[in-house]
């Protein structure tokens, strides 16, 4: 039987983690190919709705990463993002969505090794957790529902 390969979406900031991931590549460090990187101007731009959309569209895990505190290109974007995540994790936990599926991290443009570690560890963790069955179920029931609506 084929091993479960999780789909991981990484939302990263342009100035630190994206450059950090670039460094990982130019340093020829190998890391899991499960991750799809999406570049944002700043972690402050990463709305919680975007994370929910990733789950809905089949992501098993999410990485959100940006500049270390005090390193933000726009001075305060990551501080605002941090507050939002603290609240959002509380809400996810209360509504029964596994918060472990979202990995938050600070990776600077110089931390190519750290980026590889973050991705590898997240992939390992999500492999242990298995596919995001809860979300997959509601996505399937939704498809039926939409077909019904069209047929009506």
């Amino acid at each position: 039987m084929q091993e479960f390969e999780p789909k991981i979406v990484a939302f990263v900031c342009n100035w630190c983690t994206y450059a950090g991931a670039d460094l990982t590549g130019t340093s020829r460090i190998k890391y899991s190919a499960n991750v799809k990187i999406i570049r944002f101007p700043c972690t402050g731009r990463i709305d919680f709705m975007i994370l929910m959309k990733a789950f809905e569209n089949g992501a098993d895990g999410i990485i959100v990463s940006g500049c270390h505190p005090n390193d933000c290109h726009y001075s305060t974007g990551n501080f605002h993002a941090r507050r939002r995540w603290i609240v959002f994790r509380n809400l996810l936990n209360f509504t029964g969505i596994e918060t472990e599926r979202i990995q938050f991290s600070w990776v600077s443009a110089a931390e190519g090794f750290k980026w590889a570690d973050v991705v590898n560890n997240t992939v390992k963790k999500i492999k242990e957790m298995g596919p995001n069955e809860n979300y997959k179920k509601i996505a399937v029931s939704t498809l039926f529902n939409e077909e019904e609506i069209i047929n009506e």
């Binding site: 501080f79 605002h80 941090r82 609240v87 509504t95 509601i138």
Partner: protein
């Protein structure tokens, strides 16, 4: 009752206010919101034990704004709503005349935000004990049990948006729900769309909810959606030291930050 009617009639006659938002008898034994602009309309106002609706939500409706300077019959939740709206620059000091209904049936005038703040400082504004119990019961469940609980609750949702209409803090002219490019929230009321909608609403009300409970009261399907925003009140208070609707010049917890905000999940 006559005290209320006399007061409102006087306020309308001397043009202190243009419209008074209070309660009147509806069909059957129900109570509904009333918008008194004349002495005859003011004569129909009532105040009974069933007058519990938070009327502050009407302050933000453009139909009501058109009527001129409002007066409001307020309970504690309405006072907090006004404070929160003031902190979000939606009402200015002196723009709203507030008549507060005391527990003993008498009425107190609040002419300035400072007096409302002083009153709220001495009042219990916490959530009710049965709601606290319900939150504690949910928090004691496993993650999967909570998922199944909310899945079952959200499954009932018919997306009527009564919760949004009743909420004094949901005053955006264009709600994320109404945006279709991109379509953040699916229009149909299926499991996925309902989950999206309720998480979005809870997140947009985090740190702003004044626990009036109007969303759950308005819900025709009896979904306990007030719990979603209520359970965020304590974490926000403990982590950021902010409580919504207590001060007119408060800063929204999620639009500010401290460099040393504590978290334990970012690696």
């Amino acid at each position: 009752m006559s005290e209320l009617i006399n007061k409102v009639t006087q306020l309308l006659n001397d043009k202190t206010i243009d419209v008074f938002i209070g309660y009147e008898k509806g069909s059957a034994d129900r109570i509904r919101a009333a918008f008194a602009r004349t002495a005859e309309q003011a004569a129909k106002l009532v105040y009974t034990a069933s007058c519990t609706q938070n009327l502050a939500g009407y302050l933000m409706k453009h139909e009501v704004k058109k009527l001129g300077k409002p007066g409001l019959l307020a309970n504690v939740a309405a006072l907090r709503s006004i404070m929160q709206l003031a902190s979000e620059f939606q009402v200015k000091d002196g723009e709203v005349y507030v008549l507060f209904a005391n527990a003993d049936g008498s009425f107190t005038e609040f002419t300035s935000f400072a007096s409302i703040e002083a009153y709220l400082g001495t009042t219990d504004v916490g959530i009710k004990s049965d709601e606290q119990e319900m939150i504690a019961r949910l928090e004691a469940m496993s993650v999967q049990e909570r998922w199944l609980f909310w899945n079952k609750e959200f499954d009932k949702c018919i997306k009527c948006y009564a919760c949004r209409a009743a909420c004094p803090m949901c005053y955006c002219h264009r709600c994320t729900t109404d945006v279709n490019q991109p379509q953040w929230i699916p229009v149909a009321s299926h499991e996925r769309g309902n989950l999206d909608y309720h998480l979005m609403r809870a997140m947009h009300l985090a740190g702003r909810c004044v626990n009036c409970g109007e969303c759950a009261n308005a819900c025709p399907m009896d979904i306990p959606l007030n719990l979603l925003t209520y359970q965020l009140i304590d974490p926000i208070k403990n982590t950021f030291g902010a409580t919504a609707g207590m001060k007119a010049d408060a800063v929204y917890a999620l639009s500010t930050y401290k460099p040393d905000d504590k978290e334990n999940f970012i690696i």
